[in-house]
Amino acid sequence: MYRILKMRQLTPVTRLYVIDAPLVARSAQPGQFIILRVGATGERIPITITDFDREAGTVTIVVQEVGKTTKWLAQLGEGDYIQDFAGPLGQPVELPERGRVALIGGGFGTGAILTIAKALHGRPGITVDAIVGARTQELLILADEVAANVDRFLPCTDDGSFGTKGFVTAVLHDQIKAEKGYELVIAVGPMPMMKAVADVTRPYAIYTLASMDPIMLDGTGMCGACRVKVGNENKFACVDGPCFDAHKVDFLEVSRRTKMYKAEEKIALDRFVEHECQCKSAGNR
């Protein structure tokens, strides 16, 4: 069992958790993820590491409520326990010693670029731009933390309530044209956003990494559910990823595969919500 030491509500549907997991914290590297299971009847889901503190023995994750598992997790608060928390998993992302780097975060993916920003921060030969986007200001997460760890913080919102009005891809494109490009672009966020980022950087031949979060079971290479077509090869995201060359990833296929259990996910969610309502109304009586 793994204790939740801190919980912070970032948006109405996004929470940050600091988990007591000393062994994971000791070995965690930017770009890696964990697999958690909320309780004994739960499913195993992968979540990218947002931050870690080796001395305190803690690992920070950001979770958005989308389905049953994340809603179940959202019911837990400080002092509660998560059944299983395995990691760090996946290959750490390879970071350069010099050059210009753009970190692109979309939605709750912004949480995942924090650990990369921190690792690059202070490297003498490196300049880092963070381009982060959300639908509206209140959905933009960890803006202060990311801003404090990059050279330039370039937020944008769909409705213009904060930063530039528009998508991260437009800001990225402007920056590429204005500043003669980047040595490396790393995108973490929804699949369509990462694909759009790859489309922007492809004509400029800028090396671009996308962090994949396909369906996974064990996270150690045993099940093969997380296979992603990269170029002409099948790669296992848990063993060889989760970051892959975004210009070679078959995004259409990955997106399709992640939706394989949509109907079942809805059944699980509806059942959970219904049960929750019953509990609440029972409590009100």
Binding site: G221, M222, K229
Partner: protein, 468 residues
């Protein structure tokens, strides 16, 4: 001496029509009367060749003789001196190739049903309560066992019995390895695995879950920072193989590892009570004809498939599944497509599997494995309508541990190099055994490797203590 009965006692089975509707165990087990009668078929050979046929050297002659006299408690006690997982071995070992293959009765008649008797005494013990442990003098040396599968559990148990301080590090959230995620409930009920693990805990073995050695901790940090004096690697087989044919990433294509893990470890057959889903649709094709393929195809029937098919490019004679598993699959209505080789998976616009394109094959000259090589028949392509495809083709070694452990050597296939007699790897104090070394093999061979390694680790630690 009474005349030996020609035939062994048949194993009582759950009716095939009933069993495809649920996950209850298929083989029901002998009654005490049946077990005693079967045990009485044993000739008590002076030189019990059956024991040489066993990778863990189960004392067959002794345990069977005690059982023949009705001394079940003494029989299981004798068994336990050597084998820590008899309820499991009695169910999943290929006895027909091991102990029973060497049984003298088997020369003229059917061999003594040693596996079924092993299962009987182990089940009897579990039902009547395990005997308490005798006090073991404790030793101070700490041993880390990586992986809680058959090799790791055996190694851990043998070392704990010698008084060592043993911690088992397991990547998943439950112990048992393939016994838990791979072999289905209807062949090996999970409560049996859990009972054996609990027994190891009572012996003092510590289990730590969610630790992926190579990621969470390295072997170096286990030995240098965490104070382990020796390490046993029993990490199992590795990454599932796919065929490399077009369409393998359509939704509805699974490795047998994924399919079985969803069902067995994550209990997808009880969705939505359990959160992990699994869907195979009405028509399922399982590619391969080993035990894992049989487990997959039989499981498909139990989760709602109306037509469950084996697709194999060779014939019944070349398949690697145990006869018993094959027969059970036939009884349950599995359809076998021999000499059929998949060449493409067909999908619809949403990316879901709709068919499997195959070619018919014929047998040609023997290949390097000695089996006649299947060759495609020109123009024989046809499409099989299916909703899902499960690939049961074996595995390739997992690279995680090798990537993160300096000084460990692998062979050309990527398996760990270890001495077959001791499990010693190229790194002092680090031992290995089971599928991580041999590539995918059997539970009992992994147990044998764990047993040998435990002995070698003890010798290594004693020598180290002398030189310290």
């Amino acid at each position: 001496m009474a005349k030996v009965r020609r035939d062994r006692h048949a194993m009582p089975l759950l009716d095939a029509a009933v069993r495809v509707t649920r996950f209850d165990e298929v083989a029901l087990g002998y009654t005490l009367e049946m077990a005693m009668e079967e045990a009485q078929r044993c000739l008590k050979c002076k030189n019990p060749t059956c024991e040489n046929g066993c990778p863990v050297q189960v004392p067959v002659k002794d345990f069977v003789a005690l059982l023949a006299e009705g001394k079940v408690e003494e029989s299981i006690k004798r068994m336990r001196e050597v084998n820590r997982l008899p309820a499991i071995c009695g169910r999943v070992c290929p006895q027909e190739e091991q102990c029973e293959a060497k049984c003298i009765v088997g020369i003229k008649f059917e061999p003594v049903a040693i596996g079924r008797l092993e299962r009987f005494v182990a089940d009897w013990e579990r039902q009547h309560g395990f005997a308490p442990f005798e006090e073991i003098p404790q030793r101070k040396e700490k041993v880390a066992v990586i992986g809680a599968g058959p090799a790791g559990l055996t190694c851990a148990g043998d070392l704990a019995a010698l008084g060592y301080q043993v911690t088992v590090f397991e990547a998943l959230h439950a112990a048992g390895g393939v016994l838990m995620y791979g072999i289905p409930e209807f062949r090996l009920p999970k409560e049996i695995v859990e009972a054996d693990v609990k027994r190891l805990e009572e012996m003092g073995v510590e289990f730590r879950y969610n630790v992926v050695v190579g990621r969470t901790v390295t072997i170096d940090s286990l030995m240098d920072d965490l104070g382990y004096d020796a390490v046993f690697i029993g990490t199992g087989a590795g990454l599932p193989k796919f065929m490399g044919i077009p369409g393998e990433n359509y939704s509805g294509v699974y490795s047998s590892n994924e399919f079985l893990t969803r069902i067995n470890l994550l209990r997808a057959y009880r969705f939505p009570e359990y959160d992990t889903p699994m869907k195979v649709g009405k028509r399922v094709a399982v590619i391969g004809a080993g035990n894992t393929a049989m487990d997959s195809v039989r499981t498909s029937l139990r989760v709602g498939a109306e037509k469950a098919m084996i697709v194999y490019r060779r014939t019944e004679h070349e398949m690697t599944a145990r006869k018993e598993e094959f027969e059970h699959a036939v009884e349950e209505g599995v359809e076998f497509n021999w000499l059929t080789n998949p060449i493409e998976i067909i999908g619809n616009a949403d990316g879901w599997v709709t068919g499997l394109k195959c070619m018919k094959m014929e047998l040609g000259e023997p290949d390097e494995s000695g089996r006649r090589k299947p060759v495609p028949i020109k123009g024989s392509e046809f499409i099989m309508e299916v909703d899902s495809v499960i690939m049961a083709l074996g595995t390739t070694p997992n690279p995680i541990l090798l990537r993160t452990t300096p000084g460990l050597q692998s062979n050309k296939w990527g398996c760990l190099v270890a001495d077959p007699e001791t499990g010693a790897t190229t790194r002092p104090g680090v031992f290995a055994g089971g599928d991580a070394v041999t590539g995918a093999a059997t539970v009992i061979l992994a147990m044998g490797a764990g047993q040998k390694a435990a002995k070698a680790i003890s010798e290594y630690l004693q020598q180290k203590a002398v030189h310290a």
